[in-house]
């Protein structure tokens, strides 16, 4: 399961280059090590992003290496690229926008369609709790793994609190839920 959410590939690649010049293959491996619970970077995405960063003057080609395989292009940060890294770390991340989460979409859709939203909320609660249980069982290997785990647990906890509140509101407003589905004309069997 992906724990680290969507991050800017450009900014992450620039940050990885702070340690020194590197080529696409090593940058991808380093990314996957740093963020071992995130979705691994695709090679195509790495090379396309590096080309864009070079075009924008944030990285430059240091040299190329010829080996037994294809020639490797070694990239390095430009002063502008380094400024961009400092600005990236120095700027708070944008809090996730409300309403875009799959959890919200499914709940809203279940209410609008009259497809047992309370059942969905209960199943989701069980899935979240099991995920939290699995995370609690694994001892983090180091500080960074611990921080990533705590972030995941805190987000699951926030979702679980929301699911509890949703269950309560759905129970209190069961009639409204039924009316919403009927008004929308989307209750199964109500369409012409």
């Amino acid at each position: 399961m992906c724990i680290v959410g969507v991050v800017s590939t450009s900014d992450v690649l620039l940050a990885l280059l702070v340690g020194g010049p590197s080529h696409g293959y090593d940058l991808k491996r380093c990314h996957d090590t740093w963020f071992d619970q995130a979705k691994p970077l695709a090679f195509g995405q790495v090379y396309a992003t590096l080309a864009r960063l070079e075009r924008d003057g944030l990285v430059a080609i240091a040299h190329t290496e010829a080996g037994s395989g294809p020639e490797r292009t070694i990239y390095e940060l430009t002063p502008g690229g380094r400024e961009r890294v400092d600005a990236w770390i120095g700027t708070p991340a944008e809090p996730a926008p409300p309403g875009a989460d799959e959890l919200i979409r499914k709940t809203v859709a279940a209410i609008r369609l009259g497809l047992d939203p309370a059942g969905f909320v209960a199943r989701q609660r069980a899935a979240h709790l099991r995920r939290m249980h699995a995370l609690a069982d694994v001892a983090p290997s180091d500080l960074m793994a611990s921080l990533v785990r705590e972030h995941a647990i805190a987000h699951l906890d926030a979702d679980l609190r929301w699911l509890a509140a949703a269950a309560e509101q759905l129970s209190a407003g069961a009639d409204d839920v039924a009316r919403t589905a009927t008004r929308a004309g989307l209750t199964p069997g109500s369409s012409s």
């Binding site: 609660r125 069980a126 939290m132 609690a136 699951l156 609190r161 269950a167």
Partner: protein, 244 residues
Amino acid sequence: MSEHIDDHRPPPIGPRTAAGDTVLTVTGVQHAYRRTVALRGVDLTVAAGEVVAVSGPSGCGKSTLLHVASGLLVAQAGQVSLLGHDLTRLDADRRARLRRREVGIVLQFGQLVPELTARDNVALPLLLDGAEPAGAGRLAEEWLARCGADDVAGAVPPEMSGGQAQRVAVARALVTGPRLVFADEPTGSLDSMGGKQLLTLLLDAVREGGASLVLVTHDNTVAAKADREVRLVDGVVTSHTVLR
């Protein structure tokens, strides 16, 4: 089903219920405080060696369920079978003896005897059960050390921090080698790190001893540590979730 509790049995040493046996069965329990209904027909079973979290929002009836299941409170309707004893057929004295010998209870604020030292608080259930004082004191010190509270062995509760008092309360609950432990928001009065440490201590001790644990909590991160979660809302069980 046994109704007899021997007055002179030595304190239990280890688990005596085969894995898979049921140590607690709550059936159709109802309870109200005047007009406020706390439990509306609750069923709950706990197997030997199982850790069950009873979760739910404040006022959902989870603490009442713990009090009824442990015999601290007599249900107004329904049945409770605790370690083979029908609690509805035991008088207060026999329920107390059953709790003292077979059950450990940890409440949110420790509920230690304020005049007694930590050592004497932990030794108390053994002494009440007729244990020899020197042996009870040694066992109390062993459990205080195991719970990381040996540094306050000679202190009385008003001289302890909340975390220290809770560690002493856990030692007192475990010193008799209980087959079933009830814990009501055991980390509720502690900070995040202290709460995690205490919960780990409690879970490790219970699992190592093969005992069962009923853990009442409103905290999702605490409930997630259990083998199974029972969710209570408005005095009714709304879900059972197997976590392990």
